[in-house]
């Protein structure tokens, strides 16, 4: 304990603080890009998944296989797989890019499912009424289904954002300079693991907690609005 107190001034030097702040930025960026892409592409997947046309059947099958696969492979394994695939095809050796692409692909699978179950939570009667009034599938989604479904989609989506802030810790395994990797470097430099890992635990908490609170707040608010 004494050693720890002695170490603290040496640990929180300006250099280290900037170093950790940058790493925190990388963690945040990875998550934010992943969620943004996940929401837009996942939304598209959900929309195509609910189509009925026989011509789109191959697309629907592809979407089902895609979501099943990436929700059943550990993030770490997907990450390493993409890492090595990128090494072979030699498009880029930018580690951040590889991690971002992996996060986007997985986020798309998960958020696509969240959006799809949001769409499914809307009563069939709304679809019937819209169809009888000549709304097209896309008009029905835009005017009627999404304006109602977002209340069902947002709370689990926030839970998912938090999950991804935490899962990006695994990007340290391919050498992306995010929070966990930063802690490992500090630890290797001789700072105590208690301090290095303890600090980033707090930093992760600072990133995640506000989202957690906001998500729970919204869940409560939307639930009470609906009744």
């Amino acid at each position: 304990m004494e050693r720890l107190i002695e170490e603290i001034p040496n640990f929180f030097t300006i250099w280290n603080v900037i170093f950790l702040a940058k790493a925190m930025g990388v963690t945040f960026l990875l998550t934010a890009i992943g969620c943004l892409v996940g929401f837009s592409v996942g939304g598209l997947l959900a929309i195509f998944r609910k189509t009925k046309s026989i011509y789109l059947l191959p697309i629907r099958i592809f979407i089902i296989i895609y979501t099943e696969i990436f929700r059943r492979v550990p993030f770490l394994v997907s990450l390493l797989l993409f890492f090595y695939v990128f090494q072979i095809i030699k498009i880029s050796d930018n580690l951040f890019l590889i991690a971002t692409i992996t996060v986007c692909i997985i986020a798309t699978a998960y958020i696509g499912e969240i959006i799809r179950s949001g769409i499914e939570s809307i009563n069939q009667t709304q679809w019937d009424a819209a169809a009888a009034m000549n709304f097209s599938y896309y008009q029905t989604l835009r005017e009627i289904i999404f304006p109602q479904a977002w209340k069902v989609i947002l709370p689990p989506a926030f839970g998912f954002f938090i999950m991804f802030i935490k899962d990006t810790a695994l990007a340290s395994q391919i050498g992306v300079m995010e929070l966990t990797f930063a802690a490992k470097i500090l630890n290797n430099k001789g700072f105590s693991p208690l301090l290095s890992f303890g600090t980033i635990l707090i930093l992760y908490f600072i990133l995640s907690f506000p989202l957690d609170r906001f998500g729970k707040f919204m869940e409560k608010k939307l639930a009470s609005n609906r009744n």
Binding site: A131, A132, E143
Partner: protein, 246 residues
Amino acid sequence: MHQIEIKSANAFYEKLHVLKNIDLNVDKGEIVSLIGPSGSGKSSLLKMLVGLLIPKSGKIFLNKTLINFHNQSDLRNIREQIAIVFQQYNLFQNMNVLKNVCIAPTKIQKRNPKEVNEQALYLLEKVGLQDKLKSYPDELSGGQQQRVAIARALCLNPQILLLDEITSALDPELVKEVLDTIRLLASEGMTMLIVSHEMNFVKEVSSRVVFMDDGSIIEINSPKNIFEKPSEKRTLDFVGKILKEK
């Protein structure tokens, strides 16, 4: 002139044979009521007419034109001319009363928003809801919601109106206000197909009454005959039972 002609139509929900060899003609300005036990196919028949249930075989003509239910422009065409009011009202929960009535005419039929708005106000006043324009469906009683649904259907300027058990989800005291609205429409000469359990109402407004059982049409007769001297035994049984309950 037959406005609707249905010739030996069959339809299924998954494997369930819900409509069996249906033959029915409806003339312009006629009010045809469908009665029968629940699950007899009355609602399915209405749903088929707006393409929510696709017939497997048979022919359906609207104003002498054969409808191809697998052709999108045919489907659009029948839905332009036929409007349906659902048992559960099916109002759009995310829109207020006025928006519910105006959305399809402006966004789908691409009519002039100002003109649609005027018509909507007129219709909502006609059903007695002029002071609920900004309310949302979950703030209204069942009877009020049902009247909004009727106004919404009418604002589409349909030639034919389908009413699917519109009073069955309502408390008895709310039934009257909805039925009064329908009487008003009937007096204006709108072609209507009505599924209803309100036998007195059926007797009063219908030009003809159709009795259905187990997916088939058993008897088509005048309202007077169907209640007083039906030609089929199953009709007699059903009508007898219903009247005894009252």
